[in-house]
Symmetry: C2
Subunit: 126 residues, 2 copies
DNA sequence: ATCGATAATGTTATAATATAACATATGCGC
DNA sequence: GCGCATATGTTATATTATAACATTATCGAT
């Protein structure tokens, strides 16, 4: 891992919610990161390896919470609109069914996104 | 449907790929749409009713291809990176499993996103 | 050790996407 | 007609993402 990737990755590991590229930029300014591109480049590399995931629904990024996701299976995210937590899961049977749905249509899947937005257990009960 | 919503909706119905808000703005300038907000407002209302869907992976919008999606079931999109087509499907069993996954965690789902990016059958065989 | 290729960095500028804040108009029940 | 809710319009600005180009490490082959 290069310098910038390490900085970005460690920050994401400590975060308790998805961070935007600009959140990251701001947090790492005093560590020598000065431009958006430095962040986006690090994120691209990290995502490529499955060390971080992009959360499409919030334009944010999280560190992989599962086995540094070599990424055979789809990640399923539950996103709380209240506390902003992003919890990652996998589910072999959903993955299989989704793959089958694509295969049926001769669709060659390269990347899958599954995100559920709503209220987490904690926020629900408040 | 209001004037602006009608304009936006009809444009999306004719499109063969997801359109960005600014694509829509440009296409409807001569129909009197002049500002991004006019488009975003129309899209918000249309999406609320299930008449259009936002495609998170491409920051674009499509008209619902299925029964003007009263929206009981999740929409599953297959997005071709080559021709940019966005085909919509539903699958009761995937929906159910995903719902169950949330329920198990006491997660109150408000919205679900499932998107598969890759190559469609046509583009694959070229 | 140094040349040269490859990957990583840094920097400025700008593109693309989305919303805030405020002013005006329009339809509709009373 | 009055008052309220909803729809519109407009300007400005925030947020997210990339292009283009210059510079610097890194490291193996000679």
């Amino acid at each position: 891992m290069t310098q910038n990737e390490t900085l970005v990755y460690h920050l994401l590991c400590q975060a308790d919610r998805p961070l935007s590229a600009y959140n990251i930029l701001d947090a790492l300014r005093d560590k020598g990161i000065r431009a958006p591109l430095q962040v986006y480049r690090a994120l691209a590399k990290l995502a490529e390896r499955g060390a971080v995931h992009r959360i499409e629904s919030v334009n944010g990024f999280v560190a992989c919470q599962l086995h540094d996701c070599g990424g055979s299976e789809v990640s399923i995210f539950m996103l709380c609109t209240q506390c902003e937590r992003a919890d990652e899961f996998t589910d072999a049977s959903i993955d299989k069914k989704l793959q089958a749905l694509g295969d049926d249509r001769k669709f060659q899947a390269a990347h899958k996104v599954i995100e559920i937005t709503g209220l987490c257990a904690d926020c629900r009960s408040v």
